[in-house]
Amino acid sequence: MKHYGAKALLKGAVLSAVAAGSFATAAIADEQFFPLQSYRVGPYAAGGTGFFGGTIDYFNLINTRDGGVNGVKLTWEEGETQYEVERGVEVYERLKGRPNIAAWNPLSVGIAYAMIDRITQDRVPLITVNHGRTDSTDGRVFPYVFPLLLNPYSETSGIINYIASKEGGEEKLKGKKIVVLYHGSPYGKETIPIYELLKEKFGYEVQQIEVPHPGNEQQAQWLAIRRYKPDYVVLRGWGVMNPVAIKTAQKTGFPVDRIIGNVWSNSEEDVIPAGDAAIGYTAITTQASGADYPVLQEIVKTVYDGGKGNLEDKKRIGSVYHNLGIVNGILNVEAVRIAQKRFGNRTLTGDEVRWGFEHLQLDPKRVEELGAKGLFHSINVTWDNHEGDGLVTFQQWDGKKWNVVSDWIAPDWKLLRPIIEKSAEAYAKEKGIKIRTSEDADKVTELQGAASSAKN
C-alpha cells in the first residue's frame, strides 16, 4: 500500500540528493524549471497535495503527450514549506540559483509577500493564483507579481454580486446585514476595507469578525453572529477554520444556506469534516470541480494510467484543489507558450516568461481547445492588469459533491480598479518604485533569474 507521506519522504530524499549533486549547478538546455514551494505535511497538507498535485499532473501531461512546450521540457523541484513563511523563503534561497526558472508558485500569501522584493530583483514572475496582494494586480507597480484569475477584492465583489442576485437585485441589498468571518491573518484581513467600501455603494450593514488562527474554536464568534442576526455570513476561512465554522453555525442555529464561502473555503476538505452540517453550503470558485473535462480525462489516461499521477488517492482527481492546480498548470504553460511565440521555441528567461504572462489571453475558444471548457471561463492578462479579469461561479455542496448553482459572474472591475491603482501608487511612492509604462513592459532581459539581480 502506498501513501502520500512515504512517497513524499522518498521524493524528498531523492530530491535532496539531487540538489546536493552537480545537477544543481549545471545549465540544461531546452528545459524550463518550476521551483515549487509545496506543503505536503502540516496543517494545510490537504490543500497543498491537491494543488501541487494538479499542477504537476498537468506538467506531466504536457511532457508526456506533447514532449514539452514546443520541445522544451518542463522540470520542477519541490521544497517543503509546511505553509510557513520562513521555510518558504528558505526554499526560495535554496532554489533561486537553479537555471531556467520560469515562475514561482508558492500558494501562500505570507510566502508571496516575503518574496515580492526578491523576485522583482531576480526578474522572475511570482504567481499567486486566486490569492495574494490585491494591489499587485496593478502591473505598472508590480511587474513580476500575478494574482491570476481572482484577487481578493474581485472575490469580494463577486460574492456581493451573488448575494444581490439571490436577493433579486443590487437595490435589494440596502439594509441587509452581512457578517464577514475572517481568518486572523494577513490573508484574512486583506478584504476588510473593500467590504466597508462596497457597503457605501450598496447600503448593506456589515460586521467583520476575526477568528484567531487556526480557528478550531469559534463559539464566541458564532454567538455574536446569532445576536447580530445577519442575513448572510461570508466565510473567509482557511484550513480547519472552515469545517469548524460550518459546524458551529449549526450548533448556534444559523442556517448553512446563508453562509457563502470565499475561494479558500470552497474545497471538499472544508465540507467533508463538517458532515451533514455542510449540506446546502455555498462557495465561490474560479474553476469547477469534477473530472469530466477533456483535459482531466487526458490526465487520467496519459498520466495516471501511465503510473505518473501525483495524487495517491485517485478519488481526489477532479477535486477543487486538484482542479485549481491543473488550471494553474495551464496558465503557467500557456504563458511560456505565448512567450515562445515572440522569443523562439527555446528555454526562456524569467523576464521573458513575465512577458508571456503579460500577454496571457485565453478566450473561451482557446480554453476549449485546451480541453478546459467549463473548467474555467477565460483570462485576459495585460501588462497593467495582472489579474486578468477572471469570472467566478458559485457551487453548492450536496453532501457528496459540489454542484454549480450560478452562471459565470463578473466582479465589478471598474469600481475596483481605481482603488487598486491608488493602493499600488502609494506602495510605489513608499518604496521609491518608478511606475512602468507599456514601453517599459515590452522590454525584456535575457539574463536569467538571480543572475539578473546580481547584474542589476
Partner: protein
C-alpha cells in the same frame, strides 16, 4: 446605552464552560504523565492526532466501531510501552528539561509517523451525535458539548477510582509523591511509567475522537495542545481536578472576553487572552490553583 442582555451572557458563559471541558480532556493527558514522571509531555497533541487518525482510517476501511476502538487502544498501548522503552528509560535521572525536549522530538516523530502511515487527507468523523442545539429558556446548548462533558466526567470518575481504589493507582500515587522512595520499596518504575503512558494514550484517543468529530480528523488536531497549556498553568500540572476547573475557567473567561472585551481590541483576542489570564494567576499562585506547592530547602 444598550441594556445588558442577560440571556446572551448566560449563553456565552455556558458555551464557554462546555468548550472548557473539551480543553480539560486534552489537559488530563498531560496531567497523567506529569503526575507520575514530572515530564511535561509535549507529545500529547501528537498522540491525540495519531489515535484519531488511526481510528478513522480503520473505520473507513470497514472495521466495526468497537473493534476499531479496541484495536486503536491496543496500538496506543504499544506506543506507550515503546515510548517508555526507547525514550524514558534511557533518560532516567536526566533533568526535566531533557525529558521535555525528548517529548518535543517525540511529537514530531508521532506526527510524521501518523501522516506517513495514514496519509495527510482530511477525514470526517461521525460519532452519531448531532451537534444541534437544545433551546433552554432561549439559551442554545449544544448536544455534542453536553455529550463531551459527560464523557469528561466519566473519565475523571474512572481515573479517580483507579487512582484511589486500585493497587496500580496506589503505585501511581506513590511514584507521584516520591520516585526514589517508590523505588526503594520495590515498585517497578518502568511498569508504572508504561501503564501511565497507556492511560495517557487512552485519554488521547477519547479526546481525539471528540475533537476529531468537531474539527475533522486532520493535522490541526495536534494543535489543540495550545488550548490545554493555559488550562494546565491555571489548574496546576499535577492535578486532575485542576485540569477540570482550569478548563472551565479558561473556557468561560476566554469566551466572555472575546464577546465583551474583543470589540475594544479589534476582535480575535481569545487565543491570547487565555494565556494572559493564566499568567495572571501564575503570578499569584506559581503552582496553579490546584498544583502541588514545591518546597525546596537549600
Amino acid at each position: 446605552m444598550e441594556s445588558f442582555d442577560f440571556p446572551f451572557f448566560i449563553e456565552v458563559l455556558v458555551g464557554g464552560l462546555l468548550s472548557g471541558i473539551m480543553y480539560s480532556l486534552v489537559a488530563i493527558g498531560f496531567v497523567l504523565i506529569y503526575k507520575t514522571s514530572g515530564v511535561l509531555n509535549f507529545a500529547q497533541g501528537a498522540l491525540l492526532l495519531f489515535a484519531a487518525l488511526t481510528f478513522v482510517s480503520l473505520l473507513e476501511r470497514g472495521v466495526p466501531f468497537w473493534i476499531t476502538f479496541a484495536v486503536t487502544l491496543a496500538i496506543m498501548a504499544v506506543i506507550g510501552i515503546l515510548i517508555e522503552r526507547t525514550v524514558l528509560r534511557p533518560l532516567v535521572n536526566k533533568p526535566p528539561i531533557t525529558l521535555f525536549v525528548a517529548t518535543l522530538g517525540l511529537a514530531y516523530v508521532l506526527e510524521g509517523g501518523a501522516q506517513l502511515l495514514w496519509g495527510t487527507q482530511v477525514h470526517g468523523l461521525d460519532l452519531g451525535i448531532d451537534d444541534v442545539p437544545y433551546v433552554v429558556g432561549g439559551v442554545f446548548i449544544s448536544t455534542f458539548d453536553l455529550f463531551a462533558a459527560a464523557v469528561a466526567a466519566s473519565i475523571v470518575l474512572l481515573l479517580t477510582i483507579v487512582f484511589r481504589y486500585t493497587r496500580i493507582g496506589l503505585a501511581f500515587r506513590a511514584v507521584a509523591d516520591d520516585q526514589f522512595a517508590a523505588l526503594a520499596i520495590g515498585l517497578k518504575l518502568p511498569v508504572i511509567w508504561a501503564a501511565v503512558w497507556i492511560a495517557a494514550g487512552f485519554v488521547a484517543l477519547v479526546a481525539g475522537l471528540l475533537w476529531g468529530a468537531r474539527l475533522g480528523v486532520q493535522f490541526s488536531l495536534s494543535l489543540v495542545v495550545l488550548k490545554a497549556l493555559p488550562v494546565l498553568v491555571l489548574g496546576g500540572f499535577d492535578s486532575i481536578l485542576g485540569a477540570i476547573v482550569g478548563g472551565l475557567l479558561i473556557g468561560a473567561s476566554e469566551k466572555l472576553a472575546e464577546v465583551y472585551l474583543g470589540p475594544f481590541f479589534g476582535g480575535g483576542i481569545e487565543s491570547w487572552f487565555a494565556y494572559v489570564f493564566a499568567l495572571a494567576i501564575l503570578l499569584i499562585r506559581p503552582s496553579g490553583l490546584f498544583g502541588q506547592r514545591l518546597v525546596e530547602r537549600t
